[in-house]
């Protein structure tokens, strides 16, 4: 399928490769994966390993920012990715190691994440605190739990229809979850805040 995102990506490639025959840019060796599932898997693998350390070092385990220098990049476009590779000094050295297919696959993964509303649950200063993006009933969302303490912390997620989770010290857990209501409250969690666009 050649959905709107693919179309935008293809157009962006053409712009990025200005001066090169558009058809060749889309259909040559540098073309994106034809199999979306394979592209997504390849993008995730690259996200976790590119450069030997992975994008997660600067952007968090699931591109949610995690307080790191790169911030939240869920839903980033190919144009934004290309610009960063060209203009952000710490990313410029990484650019030559990523083919156009690699870049498209990473963007595929970021788009997949961008379509998942994010619920961030962080244990810090003795209690859990939550931030959430807008949830849609029945639409997959992603829970990200981070334990910013030196002891294992548990959180009862029965209200969400999930089992209690134990998070190891300084560990991050991410799980997919399908909300049954657009809002929720969890025992022992501070009032839930709306999440800013960028978590830095």
């Amino acid at each position: 399928m050649f959905g709107p995102k693919r179309f935008v990506q293809a157009c962006t490639i053409v712009l990025a490769l200005a001066g090169i025959e558009p058809v060749l840019a889309a259909a040559g060796d540098e073309s994106p994966e034809d199999d979306p599932a394979a592209a997504l898997a390849a993008g995730q693998e690259l996200y976790l390993s590119a450069g030997g350390y992975g994008c997660l070092v600067c952007h968090g385990q699931v591109a949610h920012g995690a307080g790191q220098v790169g911030g939240m990049i869920r839903g980033a476009t190919l144009a934004q990715f290309q610009t960063s590779l060209e203009q952000v000094p710490v990313m410029a050295l990484l650019a030559p190691s990523l083919s156009m297919t690699d870049r498209l696959n990473i963007v595929e993964y970021l788009n997949y994440l961008g379509d998942l509303p994010l619920v961030s649950l962080t244990y810090r200063d003795g209690h859990w605190q939550a931030q959430t993006q807008v949830l849609q009933v029945g639409q997959w969302a992603q829970l990200v739990l981070y334990n910013d303490s030196f002891e294992t912390q548990s959180l009862d997620l029965a209200e969400l229809g999930l089992a209690t989770l134990a998070v190891l010290p300084l560990a991050t857990l991410d799980i997919l979850w399908r909300p049954t209501s657009a809002s929720f409250a969890l025992a022992g969690v501070a009032p839930i805040q709306a999440m800013p666009l960028d978590l830095r």
Partner: protein, 145 residues
Amino acid sequence: MKTLLRSTAVILVMIFSFAFAEAITVYKSPTCGCCQEWVGLMESAGHSVTVEHPVDLDKTKQQLGVPKALGSCHTAVINGYLFEGHIPEVDIVAFLANPPVGAKGLAVPGMPARSPGMAAQGQAYQGFKVIGFDDQGNYSLARQY
């Protein structure tokens, strides 16, 4: 009097730093610029740094014993201890001067924007923790910036 004390303190810190100048091996990726910035800071402080670019950096970190939760972009090895990520030189020197019993090393997980090698020149370090870890999987706070 204050000026004299300050000058004396600065001289003592310099003597202390160079007395503990260390041979450091840093494992990093050739695609990482901020790692190189951190290496430069360590060299400027008087340490001798050997840089290695392993084919599989992640595997190297696992073999060295860097806890996954404390991962960053580069790993330094000094006197058998591990130093993961953008740790300020002063904390490494202090650790090596008096390593806690059972300690395996220090870490600054991830890529904090205002850590050494990431912060702009002259910018104060802030917004991150230096975490100590031991060979039993325990963590402790070495310093909060």
